[in-house]
């Protein structure tokens, strides 16, 4: 019997995959998944351009500079002192300001801007009448530091919004879409157990979301690392846990698809209008850090946050309430998180199977 059910599940998956991947209604999901990829491609281009500019500046400069040389420049130094220390500037701008000092007196003030670079950092010095007034040391792109930004985008944009709305689009459509197309009765008239149908549809949705969003995640990581030199990339991937982090992100994406998918499958069966359940789940996931420990376990984000390989630090001066939203309080161990999320998804699937057994179609109320 189980082999028969398995064959039926495979048939449903085959049918549903075509509908899910090529549905006109679902095209926006590809856009949602592609947006962060475009973002990191833009980042890669910006970093490459910046690195190219700084390398060019460093080569054009008369003297080979180090980071320590750049640090030695302080406000109040004269331009001769700076030139003696760092050599002739790589980039040099100047202009004269005619400033009214009193009613009938105009004073000429010379402004100069020197730019230096060691190939990785850039120094901007602004002189007013020959004295350094503003000294700005620009940090070049740093893979370790930027990996925290990547983690932030993954946790707060990709997981909570991109994947959330993507799963909403795919999983709610599994049953609601059929009702709106008036085609669900074909499935219900076929000699197939409704639980088997439900499982087949869930697996099809899961395969679709995993394919779309895991591909997006892999492309994001590739685009993020693209801009860096191979030596820097290898150092990050093989010696700074970069490869582990990338694998963890892929794993979290798959688990998020399972968790959110199960939730939206139920929502699609119980609600005609997705706005209310979407808003409720979005708020529930958002207020998760403020919930009591018992209630926290009935959410997806709680487990996903615990699995995140990089903790996003709270910016200094942030309001404590907002800081709590970012922080990962009471994280659970990875095995518990995976097991907990799968249990929550399993409970949701059990509820769905109970619901689908009693489901009645009334197309006229749509």
């Amino acid at each position: 019997m189980k082999t028969f059910w398995w064959r039926q599940i495979k048939a449903v998956v085959r049918l549903e995959l075509k509908k899910t991947f090529f549905a006109k209604r679902g095209l926006w999901i590809y856009l949602v998944a592609a947006l962060p990829v475009f973002l990191f491609m833009a980042y890669a281009m910006a970093v490459s351009r910046e690195q190219g500019r700084m390398t060019e500046m460093a080569h054009e400069g008369g003297k080979e500079l180090t980071y320590q040389d750049l640090l030695a420049v302080k406000p109040g130094m004269t331009n001769d002192e700076v030139v003696a220390l760092l050599g002739k500037p790589d980039v040099h701008f100047y202009w004269t300001e005619h400033r009214h000092t009193s009613a009938q007196r105009i004073e000429d003030i010379l402004h100069e801007k020197y730019n230096y670079s060691d190939g990785q950092h850039s120094l901007y010095v602004e002189f007013v009448n020959g004295k350094a007034e503003t000294v700005m040391l620009g940090e070049g792109s740093n893979l370790i530091r930027d990996s925290i930004v990547f983690a932030g985008v993954f946790q707060f944009f990709f997981l909570r919004l991109g994947l959330f709305f993507g799963c909403l689009g795919i999983f709610m459509n599994l049953f609601r879409g059929e009702v709106l197309d008036r085609s669900l009765h074909f499935y219900f008239l076929a000699p197939i157990r409704r639980e088997v149908l439900m499982l087949g549809k869930f697996l099809a949705g899961l395969i679709a979301t995993c394919t779309i969003f895991v591909t997006s995640e892999v492309l994001q990581t590739t685009a993020f690392l693209w801009a860096y030199r191979p030596s820097v990339r290898n150092l990050y991937l093989y010696h700074n846990h970069g490869l582990e982090h990338a694998a963890a992100y892929v794993g979290i994406t798959v688990l998020a698809c399972i968790g959110y998918g199960a939730f939206f499958l139920i929502a699609g069966m119980f609600f005609r209008n997705p706005i209310a359940p979407t808003a409720v789940i979005l708020i529930w996931e958002g207020i998760n850090p403020f919930l009591p420990a018992v209630l926290k376990q009935f959410s997806v984000i709680y487990y996903l946050k615990s699995l995140s390989p990089v903790d996003v630090p709270t910016p200094p001066g942030m309001h404590p309430v907002l800081a709590l939203l970012i922080s990962n309080s009471n994280p659970v161990s990875a095995p518990v998180a995976v097991l907990g999320l799968l249990t929550v998804a399993l409970i949701a699937l059990c509820v769905s199977s109970l619901r689908v057994r009693r489901m009645e179609i009334n197309y006229t109320t749509e």
């Binding site: 973002l39 980042y43 944009f157 919004l161 209008n273 997705p274 706005i275 808003a279």
Partner: protein
């Protein structure tokens, strides 16, 4: 009389004046609004906060009562910040109400091919849009600037004409701030519902545009170390404009002029999308 003997007879009743024909659409669409229990409940909830604000204004002018319950009289101050908070809270509720009401205005007409029935009558596209959007505009006005002005009038009644004269600009800010938010919400909801044609998806899409836009904007800011991401965050743009209108200090990621231009641009894009879709016939290739 036999059916074949019946012939065409033109309508002989009183014609609605040309200028007010869009109100016919408003009348019928408004009736549909209250058929949904959820929408009626949501609309009722929208009046809770104004009532609370009314109570605050009353309490602020009853120092004796406040002293009795052990609250300092200076704790409640009715000023521009009070009205800014009022509009922010009502703005959120207006958005929720739009997510429920807005998508159902145009999408059924488009999905069922009903537009030729409107446009075969002496009724222009602009009048059709005015009629449909007036449902949202009037409903949202009822929960934003109209209660705001009532609160202002009550406060002016308690505080005297001097306060009213000094703070008249707050009333102007209430109206202007509400109107731009109403315009954005109405046009966005109608444009989405016209293009998606599926009422339920259009509602969810409106939610997604708001939250997803804000999230993507922040992601752009963080990754590219820029402030341009704020242009995708409608709520941020609106808060910038409101802060400026109510004279509230805020952290300026982008200038107020930029926020105004972006909001007007969004309105323009939505209007363009709407005009492209709202036609008597559609050629499907």
């Amino acid at each position: 009389m036999a059916v074949y003997r019946r012939s065409y007879k033109p309508y002989t009743g009183v014609l609605t004046a040309t200028w007010w024909r869009w109100l016919v659409l408003f009348r019928y669409s408004r009736r549909n609004l209250f058929r949904s229990k959820v929408q009626t409940v949501l609309l009722t909830i929208c009046f809770f906060y104004p009532l609370l604000c009314l109570a605050f204004i009353y309490l602020a002018h009853n120092v004796g009562f406040l002293a009795q319950i052990g609250v300092s009289g200076n704790l409640i101050s009715i000023d521009n910040t009070f009205f800014f908070r009022f509009l922010s809270a009502q703005g959120v509720l207006a958005f929720l109400l739009t997510a429920f009401v807005g998508p159902g205005l145009i999408s059924p007409d488009l999905a069922n091919g009903a537009l030729p029935l409107y446009f075969c009558r002496p009724f222009s596209r602009a009048e059709y849009l005015a009629g449909k959007s007036s449902v949202l505009a009037i409903t949202l006005s009822q929960i934003t600037w109209i209660p705001g002005l009532i609160l202002f009038a009550v406060q002016a009644g308690f505080a005297g004409p001097r306060w009213a004269w000094n703070h008249l600009w707050v009333a102007g800010s209430l109206i202007l701030g509400s109107l731009i938010w109403i315009a954005i919400l109405s046009l966005l909801a109608m444009a989405l519902s016209a293009w998606v044609k599926w009422r339920i998806v259009a509602g969810a899409l409106l939610l997604a545009v708001m939250f997803f836009g804000a999230g993507f904007g922040q992601a752009i800011n963080a990754v590219l170390r820029t402030q341009t991401g704020y242009f995708l965050n409608l709520a941020y743009l609106m808060t910038e404009v409101w802060s400026n209108l109510f004279g509230i200090d805020s952290e300026h990621g982008i200038s107020v002029a930029d926020a105004w231009i972006a909001l007007l641009l969004y309105c323009g894009i939505c209007l363009f999308l709407l005009m492209r879709k709202v036609r008597a016939y559609e050629v499907i290739r």
